[in-house]
Symmetry: C2
Subunit: 462 residues, 2 copies
Amino acid sequence: MALKVYNSLTKSKQEFVPIEKGHVGMYVCGPTVYGPSHVGHARTYVNFDTIRRYLLASGYSVKFVENITDVGHLVGDGDNGEDKIAKQAAKEKTDPYAIAYKYECMFFDCMDKLNVLRPTISCRATGFIPEMIEMVKEILAKGYGYVTPRGNVYFRVRDYHKYGQLSNRKLDEAKSGERIDVADDKENPEDFALWKSAEGGHIMRWDSPWGVGYPGWHLECSVMSRKFLGDTFDIHGGGLDNIFPHHESEFAQSEVATGKPFVHYFLHNNLVTVNGTKMGKSLGNFVTLDDLFTRHSPMAVRYFILNYHYRSPLDFNETEILKAEEQLNKILETYQKVAVLHKNGAKNATADAIYANFVAAMDEDFNTPLAISELLKLSKLANAMLVAGEDASALADYFDKMFYILGITPKTEKQEDKSAEKLLDLVGEIRAELRAEKNYALSDKIRNKLAELGVTSKDKKV
Amino acid sequence: MALKVYNSLTKSKQEFVPIEKGHVGMYVCGPTVYGPSHVGHARTYVNFDTIRRYLLASGYSVKFVENITDVGHLVGDGDNGEDKIAKQAAKEKTDPYAIAYKYECMFFDCMDKLNVLRPTISCRATGFIPEMIEMVKEILAKGYGYVTPRGNVYFRVRDYHKYGQLSNRKLDEAKSGERIDVADDKENPEDFALWKSAEGGHIMRWDSPWGVGYPGWHLECSVMSRKFLGDTFDIHGGGLDNIFPHHESEFAQSEVATGKPFVHYFLHNNLVTVNGTKMGKSLGNFVTLDDLFTRHSPMAVRYFILNYHYRSPLDFNETEILKAEEQLNKILETYQKVAVLHKNGAKNATADAIYANFVAAMDEDFNTPLAISELLKLSKLANAMLVAGEDASALADYFDKMFYILGITPKTEKQEDKSAEKLLDLVGEIRAELRAEKNYALSDKIRNKLAELGVTSKDKKV
């Protein structure tokens, strides 16, 4: 079986063949760091982390590059308006760099909890201004851009025959599109900014051949993917909402600048909706991860996300997360029982078949819900063997392999907390039982021991 | 009482007066991210974190800027040789940016464990190349630098009358100093690089008016401190080993570029030694924090560090860490007993006096060992009151305030783990006791409950 992926460029499932044997170069659009991470972020980065993990488990080395947008992403996603970071900085009365760093930290903190592997390289847009200016110069030299008297530089979309191939838009359609600005100094409304003049008082600004300004939103990804992965690389990922204008514009910039194909496979994950509407900070209907993690373990959230195929819609529903958590806990309990047995290195034919199905599901455009159904079969098999008193020790390795790919950690921090809590409850029950048996001596001894351990608060419950 | 700090600029203790009332701008030299964090890092950043916390507790708002050196720091700390990051990248066969990111993550992971607050802004040197080029231009325009035919730009040290004021070096002494390079194209050996040509195959490189190259090591701190804190700011911190050539050169660059005083207070913490020798990666005698944390809780390491004044030498000694851990655990146990009591908001005159002494110790150039002796007095008072059956609930607030300043968290992850472990041991003891009492029914019931909790492995111990 070979891995097949749905390529947004060709709108079809294709066999995955890397440029360099054994190696995958992968770029995923990272967050704009102007607010707390929400469920939409969790979905995107859990999805691409699972894809990365599957590639790693398949024997590839993966160079995984992810950007941090800390400048140039304007409110409304167009070419006019306030910078999202600068706006938040004004609101919090602090430095835009402080805002970006604060929310970058929050983002990675949430991702760590979700067991999302750190990128090989995490790169901030502000760190690559000289390289961005170079690319704008290249695009201008090739005749695909123009400089306006106000010091803005735009990409002339009509000159680039492939524009629209990713998003399937024709230029006439796009004209009145929801993300198209009618900027005074554009030749055509569909043109997009490569460099913007800081005339509007933009506080993050740099010198350029076109005056003081800042980069257009799409430029950073073209520049940083090229710097770290080369002119042409294997996989570009991002959320479905990034296809237009972001990826379409990125694509145009990169191919014009390098004169080479940009990327072989463009992968897009579907969005998180709330009652059918997109979830997002700008829409005001988002659930932050910090908030969500007070009610559900991050592992349960991850497991819930993976119960949906990355290209399917996912309507946010906490009852479903609870159900997923229950299911996951049962799997983990079964795993614990198997994991503590002495491993004898033996194989198990039924588990072999289950794992082969798991791999086949992942090979089919990363079908995680199908893969999870195989994990459930493995768990069922383990329980049946344990009940029958058979030696289930061989199964731990199969669990481990599936857990690695799905990014499930057998023990999460929260679960560890709970184990202390559960043990404390158990000790409480024991004491109640002892008192019922009138064994006050032992009951009191336990109470004193608990006090020594500094858990007097819980002692009141007993 | 007013805060007094030892100022390396004046070589004396001075009252601390901020530029802007109620606000402190503070810059601390961050790590060069080419290897795992070691005990030397722990000391520096715990020291400056405690200083920051004390300023916060004293009512200041603190803008705390810390850099990440990801380019330009050469092996040997001079102006010739390999870039530390690039050298490690070649060794690990990866991208210099991947090396920098990997070790930056490790650094912050260790700092998080040590309860070091994240900087307000963490800034990477590579992110500010345009600003660095600007400052080199300013220095050249003012006549303090020169460009060589090889495309290097040097700062002409003899032209700057204050050079040597921080490190107390005279230029003739420095001539044969251990960190002075004899580069072919310097006018004088003591001159230092502002910009280096990438002629030696340096892989991190940018265009500049002087050709393709990279910034001199000292430049980043002058540029980033100015960008985020202004031409003149309150506190600059760093390790004693940074005084020369790093801070001396930074100082010269900044004052020449801005024409204003660079910083009001320069604070330097002393080094960690091993048998009297400096600990450092380049010296090969360093203990990594990841390794150390397998043997001691990060909180114990922090407490151990704070038992030394930041300007005193600290000879690394794990027996001393163990002693510190024991002492800290006793304090935390006492705190737990007090913290679970219902707070009645009352004051305690003895504790008031102890806290006043704690503050007085911190006011005296952040004398943490003296401050800790007051924490021990508070703990002793709490124990005495508990034994006497007096209401000790008022003491929790005093503990909290001291813990905040010292950065001690009442519960660390490791301690939580231990509490589950200790509870499990307790349950084991209960079962042994029950079996001794021939109460097999309850003993077996407990065993089954433990199995349900998935702690069968531990069950064997019972």
